[in-house]
Symmetry: C2
Subunit: 110 residues, 2 copies
DNA sequence: TGACAAGATAACTGCATGGTTATGTAGTAA
DNA sequence: TTACTACATAACCATGCAGTTATCTTGTCA
């Protein structure tokens, strides 16, 4: 039985690709990491990352549109939060894979 | 202790982003899915996917460059294979998350 | 040698996208 | 109302990148 993605429709495949692409941007990864602990306002995120507020808003829009972030308004502030914490497991997987390959490559060279 | 990616250098973050971006392309996801069972030659992959050989080669180059695929030459043929099968766990996670959110959204509407 | 087949690569085109600046749109407070 | 703050969005620019066609390069076989 297809434990893993065997046959996917073009539509589903597009959605999956969209998510990966959303996570394939350093600034957006930084945003996700900042939101790992708790929800944050836009201005809070702008204060942490050294870029314009417009840029942050656009990245947040991308992450929200593909279902990675949740949005909550409260007065003047807008709070963003991680929609599905599993994304961090994915980050860990990628990190682990990279480190592993890196060490293997070092062994081959040494 | 940082079980998950807490503080990452710009370089590492770039590598992680690069991997996600590599997986954020429908055609490349198709390639990975085709390679899930066994290694395949380029012409084999070209025969399965309806696009040019040049295009396939370029996508294979992207996937190989970021460590997702392994390359093996044998005579005239070049075989590509999955370098780290964990990527399929990641695909499953994304698929699961998408389906879950989709069903939740359906519940909210119904 | 030459002919051919499998892949890689170069050059090009069009579209997507990250970043900026400037402006618009709530929501709050006087 | 006016003024201010937090955020979103529009317009624009430069770069990146998927796809194409055409051209290498490499290996096999006559």
């Amino acid at each position: 039985m297809p434990k893993s993605s065997k046959v996917l429709s073009d539509a589903t495949l597009g959605l999956v690709a969209q998510r990966f692409r959303a996570m394939g941007e350093p600034m957006r990864l930084r945003l996700l990491m900042l939101l790992q602990e708790n929800e944050r306002t836009v201005s809070d995120l702008v204060a942490q990352l050294h870029t314009s507020q417009a840029n942050i808003s656009k990245h947040l829009q991308v992450l929200t549109a593909c279902g990675l972030l949740a949005r909550r308004k409260h007065g003047l502030n807008v709070f963003y939060a991680i929609a599905d914490p599993r994304i961090f497991d994915m980050c860990d997987m990628v990190c682990g894979s990279i480190k592993q390959q890196h060490s293997e490559r070092a062994k081959h060279l040494g």
